[in-house]
């Protein structure tokens, strides 16, 4: 029974684990199951945000186009949530997502996701936490890069 499975999957995701049972069920009912073949795009950089995705099975590549070339900047796997930032910021997709393997995802429509975040403080907090983590990670990486840049060319930092 797929609907019941969906509930289990959602409960396993940190963002939704503290959601009250009714809301979780409603969310499960509103989710769409999507399947993709390897190499198929889920969405493209510049697309309007249509929803957030949770990987049930398989992996995806995060791809950005830089000077006409495609650069893979990350890979996401089991039970990872993506696509939620563009919804919160209401801006176009900043990267393309492509299935790296045969893929099964749960899609939460953008408006459903937004309602969930705005109506449920716990979820809102979890979203903030996950975004903060992303920022922290990026900041760390930025600092590491800066250190390395400084090492490579000490003259630029006189």
């Amino acid at each position: 029974v797929r609907y019941a499975d969906t509930i289990t999957i959602l409960r396993g995701i940190p963002l939704f684990c503290r959601l009250d049972p009714t809301k979780l069920k409603r969310l499960a009912f509103a989710c769409t199951d999507l399947t993709f073949a390897a190499g198929e795009n889920l969405f493209l950089e510049g697309d309007p945000p249509d929803g957030a995705y949770i990987i049930e099975d398989g992996e995806v590549d995060v791809i950005v186009a830089r000077e006409g070339r495609e650069v893979r900047v990350g890979r996401l796997g089991h039970f990872e949530l993506f696509g939620e930032m563009a919804i919160i910021l209401n801006q176009k997709r900043t990267a393309s997502i492509r299935a790296a393997t045969p893929l099964k995802v749960l899609k939460i429509d953008a408006d459903v996701f937004l309602r969930l975040v705005t109506e449920t403080p716990d979820v809102a907090l979890a979203v903030m936490r996950s975004l903060s983590e992303k920022i922290t990670r990026l900041t760390e990486r930025y600092e590491q890069l800066e250190v390395r840049v400084a090492e490579v060319s000490p003259m630029t930092r006189s």
Partner: protein
Amino acid sequence: MMEPSLYRFILKYSWRDQVYLLVLTVISLPLLYGALDLPKVIINDAIGGQNFPKDVYGFSFDQVQYLMLLCFAFLGLTFLRFGFRYYVNVYKGQLAERMLRRMRYQLFSRVLLFPLAHFRSVSQGELIAMMTSEVEPVGGFTGDSVALPAFEGGTLLTILAFMFVQDWKMGLAAIALFPVQMYLIPKLQRQVNALAKERVRTVRKLSERIGESVAGVEDIHANDTAELERAHFSYWTGIIYRIRFKIYRKKFFIKFLNNFFGQLTPFFFFSIGGYLVIQGDLTFGALVAVLAAFKDLSSPWKELLSWYEQKEDARVKYDQLVEQFRPGGMFDEALLEPPQGPPPRLAGPVVATNLTLAEEGGIRVVDAVNFSFDIGDRVALAGREGSGQSGLAKLLARLVLPTAGSLRIGELDLARAPEAVTGRRIAYIGHGGTLFQGSIRDNLIYGLQHQALEEPRYESDSDALEERRRVVREAMESGNTASDLAAQWIDYEAAGVDGPAGLDDRLVTILRRVELEGDVFGLGLQGLIDPQRQPDLADSILEARAVLSRRLAEPEYTGLVERFDPDRYNRNMTIAENVLFGTPIGREFDLEHLADNPYMVAVLERVGLTEDFLTSGLEVARVMLELFGDAEPGDEMFERFSFIAADALPTFQAVVRRADVGGLAALAEDDRTLLMSLPFKLIAARHRLGLVGERAEERLLEARRQFAAGLPADLTGAVAFFEPERYNPAASVQDNILFGRLVYGRQQSKRLIGGLIDEVIDGLGLRPAIIGLGLEHPVGLAGSRLSAVQRQKVVIARGLLKRADLIVVDRATAPLDPATQAAILVNVLGDAGPSGVVWVLGEADDEGGFDHLYVMEHGRIVVHHDRRADREPPPRQREAQAGS
């Protein structure tokens, strides 16, 4: 022009009819006298008389025969009298309706002459109320205006004359109280009139208020001001209530006086008349006749009084209508007259001299502007919004008349140019253009329909011709236009084409110019066609279905569409669709009522699905209650995902409780029907609840077969089956081509399959036909069935279609996105050919393609830049370059 007073209006347009009615009235009076006199003769001469047999015109009658003769004469006279009255009433009714029609037509014509600024101060609601309901009693009165007082007054006088002939004292008794009534009643009536006037004014205020609330309903909700609006409403209805109540009191008091005085008169009759009979001064027959006559007297008297009331009411309303429909600055009627022959093309320079446009309150929107450019030039008007560009654009299109100064195109003074020239040779495209009810095509060709060009051909001696003649005659009688809506109105020449086929091509070209072709194509795909009326198109679409079917086998498209297959269960459509295997027509097999349908219920029972439906229905109800049982009303999630309407939730709650207690078997018929209704909406691939659609595919297929095989004759029209080789008239063109459902869970299917369908259609050369179908899409009231952007594009296309000599574009592209704005600007300039273009620049518009740039500030032109000078070298030099 409207006459200043009601009676002038009546006499001007109906004096012949009024005289005729008057003559009829005079003729009818002797009949009345006869009808009054006969009873007396019957009583005195026939019943109570002597000296029989009597000779009448040489015939001899005994008493009974004589009585019968007189009685039949009375019968004949009565018939004649009332037959006469019937004829007069019908005649009056016809006259009144014609006058009403004339009046409405005149009012409407005047609305078309109002200066545009006036529409800002008058509300639509008011205009509608005045032209529909308020004018009605005025029109109704016109038939009665002369004939009724003449007839009823004459009747009254006849009856009185009769009374006086019988006995002058009786006559005096009958009229004794008239002077009192004639003094009191007009006095009261005047008060009622004043109140009626006030009521009309107040009701107008109320309709204004209602109109405002309806138009601003969004802001009411956004600001939570419903209570304030209700208070406003209550204030006005309170005033109306008070006025109406006062009117009632006075009206009924008038009635009381009439009734009272009316009953006072018999008092005189009985006392004085009785005394006279006893004394032997009056025959008994005469007293009976007078009493009978008195009975007849009260009716004309009442009629006269109510006529007087009506007259006053109509007069008040008429005066107010005249006042309301005479705003200052109206267009001259002559400007709107249909022209003789085609209007001349505009030529020569466009020259403004001290051109000024002032609004109410003296603000100078355009302030003493001077310019001159050639009619074929491209002119840009720039400046901050509200600096007068829009006013200037409207002046150039002669939508408004200059307050001072002049605007000429060649020899033509625009202020005096007939609308046949300005409305056809100049195109004005504003940003708030209106769409009229009808199809997109109707709206595009709206600007080509100025007058009936070619009468439709009616067969001689046919009913249609007879009907048309009747319509023309009636229109003439009430001063309306007799132009035939069925005529050929489209001015193909104005669009530069020679007929309908050429026009279609031209429409497509213009749709492309305004980037609307794709949308119209999309609407065409959603359209319906009748394969009986368009068999060729239906065949082509079936061909597209076959081609698409082949293409879907290509690896790129596999697994994206689940096609309709009579022998396979389709997991991507609802159970209802799977069983029907067709599109419901009408309400018989409507999704919401399938469980009520006895035939459907019987089919399910026969294939043994009833129990599955009940258990699944119970399960769906449980899930729905669990998910949405506590949902707030209007919850968006609920609206989108629930199978059960909000108001039905408590009902289902009760049903589930009853099922839990007594089991499904114990449920009442109504409860079972409710539960049965739910599984119909399940889609196996979408809902994943593990219910009937997923478990009982074989039996559902059997149900499908039985449903189709046993469909009773009276239901065959209620469903259009999915048949691989036949066109389904109840489904859209797109559904007919696809003949299947997009598979759930494939993100790209919509885009990929949409592209594939386009490809197939183009491959078969079907695009023009589909666009043609899209053009037939109804736009709805004020274009409500199109998006704001689509509406605006239709407005722009409409302006471009008529190939005007001067195209004035007044921020028409502002509602569109910047890329489209730029594209349309380029397209319009590129397509204008010898026509001139005046473009009020928006913020995003590029002035690169224009010959002149005028920058406006506070209604004045502050900069004029002749860009031809710096762009092109002078002609001589150019030749030299070409030669080198």
